[in-house]
């Protein structure tokens, strides 16, 4: 890899570091983006439909219309992210041309490639990718992701999958830090993870990039729970604009993320928020319709 690519990759990891302890919110219009910024979001994810609508309406979910993205970029001064389909090289090039700040190569959209993810080192713009475990996280980082998030189960308002993914990753990281070196190659083999990145995790006790939580966060307490489990920040998808009072919910989740370890603050901010989004029990979603299983 050239010096330029490594330097660019580091700068892209650095932007994710600036977002730590913050909340990234899904928005579909310039007006929603302004509400998110006003509530204290550290970034917005520009989308045509939030995950719960994608789930309900079905069909193929693609990159958003550049017009919507541009309107959102104009409306706010915080970073703007947007999603591309897994493996969709040209959607990523389009977003890069729009000067987007971060691309989410996301399982929430319908995958364009059922074998390969993007080689993210080919782009100047940074990428975040979803993961359920350390092997998946390190594969994505090996391809050039400069930020990781749990997959959770997007659009459900149900935190259980995000908890499972974060607990799995943190537990694997803790195991790696205690493993004698001769066991690491077998760990790499069994988890499908690049060996050099397994070594990094074993030595440093953390992923080489920032790790956020996503997929099912619907209340301030959900956000605080994910922070407590080791998440470095929060993505909220449908949880804000599918609640009965988005402004209040957005502000409360921002406060809860910053003060996740202060139960008094959490109690205060959780009060009188109206209805959180209506959730879905996981057993009601057939296995083949689960978004988290997309990605290879």
């Amino acid at each position: 890899m050239t010096k330029e690519i490594i330097e660019r990759y580091n700068i892209n990891k650095n932007l994710a570091q600036m977002l730590k302890r913050g909340v990234i919110m899904d928005v579909t219009t310039a007006q929603e983006a302004k509400i998110a910024e006003e509530a204290g979001a550290v970034a917005v994810m520009a989308l045509e439909r939030v995950p719960s609508d994608i789930r309900r309406e079905g069909g193929v979910a693609r990159m958003s219309d550049p017009k919507i993205i541009k309107e959102i970029q104009k409306a706010v001064s915080i970073p703007v992210m947007a999603k591309v389909r897994i493996g969709h090289i040209t959607e990523a090039l389009v977003l890069e041309a729009l000067g987007i700040d971060y691309i989410d190569e996301s399982e929430v959209l319908t995958p364009a490639d059922d074998m390969y993810h993007l080689n993210k080192f080919d782009y100047k713009v940074p990428f975040v990718c979803g993961a359920r475990n350390i092997g998946e996280a390190l594969r994505r980082i090996g391809e050039g992701a400069s930020m990781i998030r749990t997959k959770g189960e997007a659009g459900t308002g149900n935190i259980v999958e995000a908890v499972r993914h974060m607990r799995t990753m943190m537990s694997e990281i803790r195991k790696l830090t205690n493993m004698p070196k001769e066991e690491l190659m077998t760990f790499a083999k069994e988890n499908g993870a690049p060996y050099d990145l397994v070594l990094y995790v074993a030595e440093n006790g953390r992923l080489p990039v920032v790790n956020f939580a996503a997929g099912g966060i619907a209340t301030p307490a959900d956000a605080a729970l994910m922070m407590r489990l080791g998440s470095e920040g929060i993505f909220v998808g449908s949880g804000i604009f599918k609640s009965s009072n988005p402004e209040l919910m957005a502000k409360a989740i921002v406060k809860a993320t910053a003060f996740y370890n202060d139960p008094k603050v959490l109690a205060e901010v959780s009060e009188g928020l109206g209805n959180a989004m209506k959730g879905i029990e996981l057993k009601d979603i057939p296995i083949e319709e689960r978004l988290a299983s997309r990605g290879w």
Binding site: E7, N10, I11, N12, N14, L15, Q17, M18, L19, K20, R21, G22, E37, A39, G40, A41, V42, A43, S77, I78, P79, V80, E96, G99, I100, D101, Y102, K124, V125, P126, V254, K255, A258, F259
Partner: protein, 208 residues
């Protein structure tokens, strides 16, 4: 007495751990996270880290820390703002009302553009170090103008990116993201000097 100097890092959001890790590498410094009035009051100096200035500013207001922090700075507590922190300090911001509004600088946010325009360079800053140090600019602001009380520390391509006004230090870039700790050394010295001055003042008062 070997009491450690306490340097606070405003810890609502952003590059908090990065600053704390570097501060921890100095034997005579105890870094503390500042989210409450109590921890602010314990701090001998404070770092406003990189992050999103709008987010940090809102949390400062909501958790009633804006006014006390502003007062401490106006009363001479050393403060260093990196990137978002610089924006918080500025008295004037293009197209935006000021946040703490304590430093006589006029700032342009996201001056270099979006993330694609973020960059790293190595540069000399006489006041800080004899050798070149790496400077990381992430969606960075620059300083368009300074008032006469403010000392320019570094200019890149005709834009000021580091400045000092008495007890206030501001940088567009992020020394906390590098392995070079010269800027932290410089700020720690600012805190030591201010402690020295306060002690000297107390002695003078006692003598009278």
């Amino acid at each position: 007495m070997n009491k450690k100097l306490k340097i606070g890092v405003l810890s609502f959001q952003g590059s908090v751990e990065e600053h704390i890790k570097i501060l921890n590498s100095f034997d005579d410094i105890e870094p503390i996270e500042v989210k409450t009035l109590k921890s602010l009051n314990e701090s001998d100096g404070i770092i406003l880290p990189g992050g999103e200035s709008t987010t940090i500013s809102k949390l400062l207001k909501i958790f009633n820390l804006e006014e006390p922090l502003k007062k401490r700075i106006e009363n001479g507590m050393p403060v260093w703002g990196t990137c978002a922190g610089l924006i918080l300090l500025a008295k004037n911001i293009e197209k935006e009302s000021p946040h703490l509004g304590v430093m006589d600088i006029f700032v342009k946010r996201n001056a270099y553009g979006t993330q694609i325009n973020s960059f790293v360079i190595n540069s000399n800053i006489d006041e800080i170090s004899k050798e070149k140090i790496p400077l990381v600019f992430i969606r960075a602001p620059w300083i368009e103008r300074i008032e006469k009380d403010v000392k320019k520390l570094l200019k890149i391509d005709n834009h000021i990116v580091a400045a000092r006004q008495k007890n206030m230090l501001a940088t567009s870039f992020h020394p906390e993201l590098t392995k070079n700790n010269e800027f932290h050394k410089y700020f720690i010295n600012m805190v030591k000097e201010s402690k020295g001055n306060i002690n000297a003042n107390i002695l003078e008062v006692l003598e009278i």
